[in-house]
């Protein structure tokens, strides 16, 4: 039972990090109608910035700040230089141009940093594990990540729901021409939204990179998971992204843990673990297919 709760926490943690990725993707799609494959590169940039600054200064916190700043800056530059030309293009052009950006960012980073993964150390104040009520031992840093993820989620909902920028964003999602007529500087709004999404991706990259590793190509598996998240949640919906991310995070974690033991009930152990692991790797895609059959527009999607 304790084990199950610990695994739920792990699922929650990976789900919240996915949410940080998916939120930016879904905002950019909702407001600008753009599909951005290079979002994973921004995640990678955040992680590398954190690793670089943390190694130079010895402070993880400066590294984290640098990751957010670097990803936001990279996002803003890319938006102004490239993405801006793509808003009126069809999705194929967007896919290809952002695919080209992935090649440029990945190979460029490899050029600068080489191929060997970098490893970040958890800051001393958050290292080790704590005992939670009920006697669960849990990594303090992972707990902090869960807290940070929840805070960002709340902040994002407040930003979209309560501020003037949020009003503009929501107006932009509903009707792009209208907000231009209202005298909003659309160019600036788009750059801002894009940079915000990039900053969230960069932050996720730094946090996840600290637990795992920082390397070229780290953003791509996460990007595809984030796509699954927003397809499940409904494209353009922040609420959908949150629900989708938690669903995917929990399905993935629990599938990996539970499926092998389920198969163990009626199969030989070695075969069960290997079949279970194979199916677990497909679990989230099966979840996505099921959601699509029931609701082709995603759980909270406005349009299909």
């Amino acid at each position: 039972m304790l084990l199950l709760i610990e695994q739920l926490l792990n699922g929650l943690q990976s789900g919240l990090m996915l949410f940080l990725m998916a939120a930016g993707l879904t905002l950019v799609f909702g407001v600008m109608g753009l599909i951005n494959l290079a979002h994973g590169s921004l995640y990678m940039i955040g992680a590398f910035a954190c690793a670089g600054v943390a190694a130079a200064t010895g402070s993880f916190w400066l590294g984290l700040a640098a990751s957010i700043a670097a990803a936001a800056a990279a996002g803003a530059i890319v938006e102004v230089a490239v993405i801006r030309r793509l808003y009126r293009r069809d999705h194929l052009d967007q896919v290809l141009a952002t695919f080209a950006l992935i090649l440029i960012f990945s190979e460029g980073t490899r050029w600068l940093y080489g191929s060997f993964p970098l490893y970040l150390n958890v800051p001393p104040s958050l290292s080790g594990s704590v005992t939670l009520p009920g006697g669960i031992q849990y990594s303090l840093f992972r707990l902090a990540i869960i807290g940070a993820g929840l805070l960002v989620a709340v902040g994002l909902f407040l930003l979209i729901g309560k501020t003037r920028i949020g009003v503009q964003v929501r107006a932009g999602e509903a009707d792009r021409e209208m907000i231009a007529a209202l005298g909003v500087d659309i160019g600036r709004l788009y750059t801002l939204v894009f940079a915000l999404g990039a900053a969230l991706a960069g932050m996720a990259g730094a946090l996840v990179g600290t637990i795992q590793s920082v390397q070229v190509g780290m953003g791509e598996p996460v990007l595809i998971l984030a796509f699954v998240v927003i397809v499940i949640g409904g494209i353009g919906s922040i609420k959908g992204a949150l629900v989708g991310a938690l669903l995917v995070g929990l399905t993935d974690t629990m599938g990996r843990v539970l499926l092998p033991s389920i198969f163990d009930l009626f199969m030989e152990t070695s075969a069960a673990t290997s079949v279970g692991a194979a199916l677990a790797s497909m679990a989230i895609y099966i979840l996505m297919a099921l959601v699509l059959i029931v609701k082709p527009g995603g759980l909270f999607g406005a349009r299909a």
Binding site: L3, N10, S14, P117, Q137, S139, V208, Q212, Q215, S274
Partner: protein, 391 residues
């Protein structure tokens, strides 16, 4: 070589450098064998896992340069750890460059893509690392030699060590791919205790929170894991964070010299199994470690040692036979008359090594992490597949 003007041959700076070295050495003079031997080395020099290929290459080339044999020419290409690139390179080396011997592949899946085709086209293949079970058993071939080990060996030794230490129950874990499955079955082949839990992780997985929770919950006496490359580094760092007090055993791959700095202090005290260690006490090894440190300014890894031995084996065969006479050259390779850095070395019936396998412990020596032999797990170990090989 097709040369750069056709733009097809991807000549790296390294290749060019080596060709000139070979030329320069030929002027100094060497032994007088009839036919020159051309070696094609396909290994991983970029992307994840590049450190393994770089060490393989550096170890191999150290032996080549020490020997100064003008009849040996080496062409080196990067497979980027992609099977289709490796296949393309081997086609190029066999069809255009006309090499006699192929070597250097680090990963089993790349070896499976290249080796069967190469040996069937009459080329020799000397494995510096990968030695999948398929090529040791039914798929063995007279032109295929593994100089490193058979893939299961280090896992078997870990199982033997766990038995010797009296660990009553073990948590065992590997990625869900053929080498991972071979790893766990190799471990169980020599482990007498009870397997508390057997877990397959996803290949390339970087977050091990779920598995660490299961390990903590299992109450096992010790943990055995096989997570090569970056997976092992991520796991060890997260393992250290989790603060679980449980002995850890694994094959040398996750505690090799090229990886230790990245894991850091978390690795100290871990027991790992290998057929070689930098502190192994024999003349050939002392010379190798000193020579490697002097030339490359770092400690050699297991892969460097394997590359070095492979080149020395090839050179020893060149002394005895002409590559044009494949039968004689094969016999010369089988004899394996060279001073291995591992000490005693011989080939079994399936042309895989028969050798001792040691248990090493990770230690911190003047701030540098390295390995030290603490026990011998298995003596003169061949492999489990030799019987299936009919050669």
């Amino acid at each position: 070589m097709t040369g750069p003007k056709t733009g097809i041959h991807r000549e790296t700076r390294m290749t060019r450098y080596l060709t000139t070295t070979a030329l320069a050495l030929s002027m100094i003079g060497g032994t007088a064998m009839a036919e020159p031997v051309k070696v094609g080395m396909i290994t991983t020099l970029s992307g994840g896992g590049a450190s393994l290929g770089i060490d393989t290459r550096d170890g191999f080339m150290l032996a080549v340069e020490e020997a100064g044999n003008s009849e040996l020419e080496v062409v080196i290409e990067d497979d980027q750890r992609k099977p289709e690139v490796a296949v393309q390179l081997s086609d190029e080396m066999i069809q255009s460059e006309d090499v006699d011997v192929l070597t250097g592949i680090v990963w089993s899946n790349l070896a499976m893509a290249v080796v069967p085709g190469a040996t069937r086209q009459g080329k020799f293949y000397l494995s510096t690392n990968a030695a999948p079970s398929q090529l040791a058993g039914k798929g063995c071939h007279e032109n295929y030699f593994s100089v490193s080990y058979q893939n299961d060996n280090l896992h078997e030794a870990a199982g033997q060590y766990a038995t010797d230490e009296g660990f009553g129950s073990m948590f065992i874990m590997a990625p869900n791919y053929p080498a991972g499955q071979d790893s766990l079955s190799g471990f169980k082949r020599f482990y007498d205790g009870e397997v508390a839990s057997e877990v397959y992780t996803q290949l390339g997985q970087t977050d091990y929170a779920a598995e660490i929770a299961q390990i903590r919950d299992s109450g096992a006496d010790a943990l055995f894991f096989f997570l090569p490359g970056g997976m092992g580094i991520s796991f060890m760092k997260q393992w250290a964070e989790a603060g679980i007090d449980m002995p850890v055993v694994g094959p040398a791959f996750s505690f090799s010299q090229d990886i230790l700095p990245a894991i850091g202090e978390a690795a100290v005290g871990v027991k790992n199994t290998a057929q070689w260690s930098p502190d192994l006490d024999n003349e050939a090894n002392k010379a190798f470690v000193a020579g490697f440190e002097e030339k490359y300014d770092r400690l050699p890894s297991l892969y460097a040692a394997q590359g070095y031995d492979t080149a020395r084996l090839l050179l020893s065969a060149m002394e005895k036979a002409d590559i044009a006479d494949a039968e004689a050259f094969r016999e010369a390779l089988r004899a394996a008359e060279f001073d291995s850095v591992r000490g005693d070395f011989a080939f079994g019936p399936n042309q895989h090594p028969v050798q001792d396998i040691y248990v090493r412990e990770v230690i911190s020596e003047d701030g540098t992490l390295t390995n030290k032999i603490v026990a011998t797990a298995m003596e003169d170990r061949g492999d489990a597949y030799a019987e299936e090989c009919s050669m």
